[in-house]
């Protein structure tokens, strides 16, 4: 029996920043939600791409939407990439600011998530 741990199952979600106020938001069935816990997850590339295409068709609502990887830690969704965890929570040095102040099981799971991977959705390194 192999000792190699199973690779985590990865899902995709869509995220971006709201144009008007810059708030980090997550796609859920055609609407934009502020809590990562509300993100809609896709288990196949086609539906993820379709959702992203719909998101990109809203240039006056959302800025530069992209796909992120999500896994489940003990049944709770958590972004895989470190940067996306910071986006889902807020600045780590100010636990009193940002989305993390809402608390809850998913926020806790993100705070305690370990390991990371290169952000699948990293866009241009320099914002020109």
């Amino acid at each position: 029996m192999s000792d190699v741990p199973a690779k985590p199952v990865l899902f995709k979600g869509v995220t971006g920043n709201r144009l008007a106020d810059g708030e980090v938001v997550f796609w859920a069935d055609g609407a934009w939600r502020e809590r990562f816990a509300d993100i809609q997850l896709f288990d196949d590339p086609a539906s993820a791409d379709a959702a992203l295409a719909r998101a990109k068709a809203q240039p006056t609502v959302i800025v530069d939407p992209y796909l992120i990887d999500v896994r489940f830690d003990d049944g709770l969704p958590v972004p895989v990439a470190y940067r996306e965890r910071v986006r889902a929570l807020g600045p780590t040095i100010h636990p009193d600011m940002g989305k993390q102040t809402e608390g809850g099981a998913v926020v806790d799971a993100i705070v305690h998530a370990s390991g990371a991977a290169r952000s699948a959705g990293r866009i241009n390194l320099i914002k020109r």
Partner: protein, 556 residues
């Protein structure tokens, strides 16, 4: 303090009206994000990890109480009650909304502040020596020239779409307090043998992925030729700087690839043609205008005070904490009876460079009452009260203590420069602030920090080097190693008059080991140091090997 005249004010008003229109076009879908991004960047508005970030210019780092109060108000109402002073003498506000930004710009414009060209591929905020007007060794007030350049470079039609950003610093003293050699153009005021005033012109410095120190391309440029000569440099850059690769687009790459001499020749040739055709004469600021700018700065009505203040001496003798504050945070002033006071924004455990709205208000009051209504910000992310009477120093210190800004650590191990890093910034690979906090906590005891002595630690969360890690005595660069935060350490850099780039210590260390490694480096220094040697001096004497051995032995 340069007072904006009606024309300056109208420029700001027209700018904010224009930006309001541009925001409207973006929201209505008439501009794509790609078309809008450079426009909002040219107003200093970034989209970052959590929200927009607005970078407000503090021209040549000079503030009045009125401006500080306004910044306090804006950070309170439109951000979360704080701001971050940067290594480029700007103020960054996080948590900003696009839809509020035109209103914020209007509020800034009312007090002569703005965010014009604080980002984008254009000429950015012109900095100056933070001790201008107070420093005995300056040959002239560099801010006069920073303001002259600011006006010429604002909305410059030929140079607003450069290959990349462009930064200019102006200093006026032999001791370089502007980090001129890491600027695209560093200008150093000096006199020639005939006593004429002019500039040493250095071009092609910069950090980031390929750091360079700027070579001098002109030893002496008479002040009357300043703007046309800058135009010649910018034109050569605009035409021949690389546009195919953003990592190779700064002027430092052009200067390095041509070589300083060839680059200088091209600039001189262009400038010569400009002078012969009459173009230079149209560009250069007339003497009367420079004189007007100089007058608009006003003269500080210093009192005739004795060089020694008995109240000050008594306070030092009575209070060792005050005496320590004076040792580290107070510098001599060119006028007898006065001093330059640095307010540290680096209390151990706090976010380096951050200042709360309440603290801004309190500093504004201090400036108004004790420093002829003037404050400065320093590229090492601290604030300065440039003209404090020695008699008033005890009262200033007491007030600073009350607001938590009396840390006696300028230039010491806890006076750390750190960029916002992955806690805020979309470009970052790793966090910088928690690393700074970890290190600062280890040296929090002021006696310990004083014993260690001058140690300039600089931390960047990514290769863009906003924390200027290449020029730290200890530099720390955040890298992404398989998705985890790792940090590469360098030793022996400096951004001041002994400018040089740091040497890589060894393989990158994981985040939790960094503060410990800094401890080991300091221990090694303390063991090896000779009389009077700072950390960086010992390093330059004994080299990398002992430090490397100590850190990497410890890591196992």
């Amino acid at each position: 303090m340069y007072r904006y005249d009606a024309l300056d004010a109208e420029m700001l008003a027209d700018r904010t009206a224009e930006f309001r229109t541009q925001v409207g076009r973006r929201v209505a879908g008439e501009l794509t994000e790609e078309q809008f991004k450079p426009l909002r960047l040219m107003n200093g508005l970034y989209l970052q990890l959590h929200a927009y970030m607005l970078r407000i210019a503090i021209p040549y780092g000079t503030l009045t109480s009125r401006k500080l109060h306004r910044l306090a108000h804006i950070s309170r109402v439109y951000s979360r009650g704080y701001g971050h002073f940067t290594t480029r003498c700007n103020l960054q506000l996080h948590w900003i909304k696009l839809k509020d930004t035109p209103d914020i710009l209007d509020l800034l414009a009312e007090v002569g502040l703005h965010s014009i060209q604080t980002s984008g591929n254009c000429i950015r905020n012109i900095t100056a020596d933070p001790y201008a007007g107070a420093n005995a060794e300056e040959v002239d007030d560099p801010r006069v020239w920073s303001e002259t350049i600011r006006q010429w470079s604002t909305f410059h039609p030929e140079f607003s779409f450069l290959p990349r950003k462009f930064k200019i610093a102006v200093g006026a003293a032999p001791d370089d307090r502007t980090a001129a050699r890491i600027y695209d153009i560093g200008l150093k005021l000096r006199r020639n043998r005939e006593g004429q005033l002019g500039f040493e012109v250095m071009v092609g410095g910069g950090l980031g992925r390929t750091p360079y120190l700027a070579p001098t391309i002109r030893e002496f440029l008479p002040t009357k030729d300043l703007l046309s000569y800058l135009a010649a440099i910018l034109r050569v850059y605009n035409r021949y700087g690389r546009r195919d690769n953003i990592w190779k687009a700064r002027i430092k790459i052009l200067v390095a690839s041509l070589g300083a001499e060839q680059f200088a020749r091209q600039v001189e040739a262009e400038w010569k043609t400009m002078t012969q055709s009459g173009e230079a004469a149209r560009i250069d600021a007339p003497e009367a205008e420079v004189a007007r700018i100089r007058r608009a700065f006003g003269t500080t009505p210093f009192k005739d005070l004795p060089a020694v203040s008995e109240a000050f001496e008594a306070a030092k003798a009575a209070d060792p904490a005050f005496a320590r504050f004076v040792r580290h945070n107070v510098l001599p002033h060119k006028v007898p009876g006065y001093a330059i006071v640095t307010i540290s924004l680096k209390a151990p455990g706090e976010v380096p460079g951050d200042c709360s709205s309440d603290q801004m208000d309190a500093i504004a009051d201090l400036a108004e009452r004790y420093s002829f209504d003037e404050a400065r910000n320093h590229f090492e992310q601290n604030l300065v009260l440039p003209h404090v009477a020695l008699d008033d120093l005890p009262a200033v210190y007491a007030e600073l203590e009350r607001i938590g800004l009396a840390t006696p650590n300028i230039g010491l191990a806890t006076d750390i420069i750190a960029c916002p890093g992955l806690d805020y910034c979309t470009l970052a690979n790793a966090r910088a602030i928690p690393i700074a906090q970890d290190i600062a906590r280890r040296f929090a005891d002021p006696a310990v920090a004083e014993e260690v002595g001058e140690l300039r630690i600089k931390i960047s969360g990514c290769i863009n080097a906003c924390g200027q890690h290449h020029v730290g005595h200890i530099g720390i660069l955040g890298v992404d190693k398989k998705g985890e935060e790792f940090y590469q350490l360098t030793l022996g850099g400096s951004g001041l008059e002994d400018a040089r780039l740091g040497e890589i210590l060894g393989p990158a260390l994981p985040g939790p080991r960094v503060a410990e490694a800094v401890d080991v480096l300091v221990d090694t220094y303390m063991k090896e140091r000779a009389e009077g040697e700072r950390f960086v001096d010992t390093f330059r004497r004994i080299g990398l090997a002992p430090f490397k051995a100590a850190v990497y032995a410890e890591a196992h």
